[in-house]
């Protein structure tokens, strides 16, 4: 295999082959073993792709936190309420968002879901404490001033 052949192979190889994994590409691994220049190219590609992976991870995973409560509480809601609870989800989300965005900080303290002070953008994620008798998921958004909170009633166990 020539260096030009190896380069062509490096452009399309599995990520593991860039690290010289013989299981991914035996011939390429043998060439990299004996060729410092191609090994440097392979290492550079591997490092850049790993860094890209981290950047995409950071973009996609900003402050994903599950806020599911740990205590199970038996629901005493009537059946019609439990069956229809997910229909309330968009309304609940809108209500929480409205609370976060509209109410002044002082009025938010002590409300049903306790919401901390608005963070300085890009610094601290919004702190949300959920009521113990509900499950929920807290999702950050692209806007640091907006956090989406999903609330749902626990089903009877």
């Amino acid at each position: 295999m020539t260096c030009a052949d190896a380069l062509e192979r490096l452009l399309v190889a599995d990520p593991a082959a860039l690290r010289g994994d013989a299981g991914a590409d035996l011939e390429l691994a043998a060439h990299l073993e004996g060729c410092g220049r191609c090994r440097t190219v392979a290492g550079t590609l591997a490092a850049e792709l790993t860094a890209l992976d981290r950047e995409v991870e950071a973009l996609a995973g900003r402050a994903i936190r599950s806020a599911s409560g740990s205590r199970s509480t038996e629901s005493r809601r009537p059946g019609w309420w439990r069956r229809g609870r997910w229909a309330w989800l968009p309304l609940a989300t809108a209500a929480v968002l409205a609370t976060i965005l509209v109410l002044p900080r002082g009025e938010r303290a002590g409300a049903g879901a306790r919401v901390g002070a608005l963070p300085t953008p890009r610094e601290t994620p919004l702190a949300v404490s959920l009521p113990e008798d509900r499950g929920g998921v807290v999702m950050s958004t692209g806007n640091p001033r907006i956090t989406v909170v999903w609330l749902y009633e626990r089903s009877e166990q």
């Binding site: 220049r37 850049e48 860094a51 950047e55 995409v56 996609a60 997910w86 998921v137 806007n143």
Partner: protein, 194 residues
Amino acid sequence: MSATAEDEGLAARAAAGDERAFGELTRRLLPRLRRWALARTGDPDEMDEVVQETLIRMHRALAGFSGEARLTTWVYRILANVASERRRAAGRRPSLSLDGGGEPVDPAATTEDPVTSLHARRMAAVVRDYFETLPPGQREVLELVDHQGMRPVEVAEALEMNPVTVRAHLFRARKALRRRILERYPELMEGYGR
């Protein structure tokens, strides 16, 4: 128990009405769904919308999950449909908005160390290439195979695409992205006759 089996166990409990299981399942799936939605839409704001709608539809449809396909394949199919519908409805091309907290690299904010600064600029360019140069279909396949570890045949099933097309997208995406990376290291390319 494997992660897949755990996910499917949670899905079965959620389908039976266990909301706590659904919460846990959501927590486990969210990072992967967000990455894929970002790769598909190229827009962090749209990513949030697509993921949220996907989870709502997933919850509604869980009772009908037969287990014939893997759970992630099934959920990804929902996400693909949501993203396609939203894109058709919006009638616009996806675009990356790097404003706000998710900006990956801000060269101006880095130290004045020229090596660090050069690295930051190169990284920002790679991220831009990933989102702006790669066609969405290629980027999506690259994300699922190279970053999320799915096999091409699973991707083909999730995207309802011919496996040969999946492989073609994958090779084109790898080649385009890696070429762009190497263009920024001309010193490495000396002697390769290009």
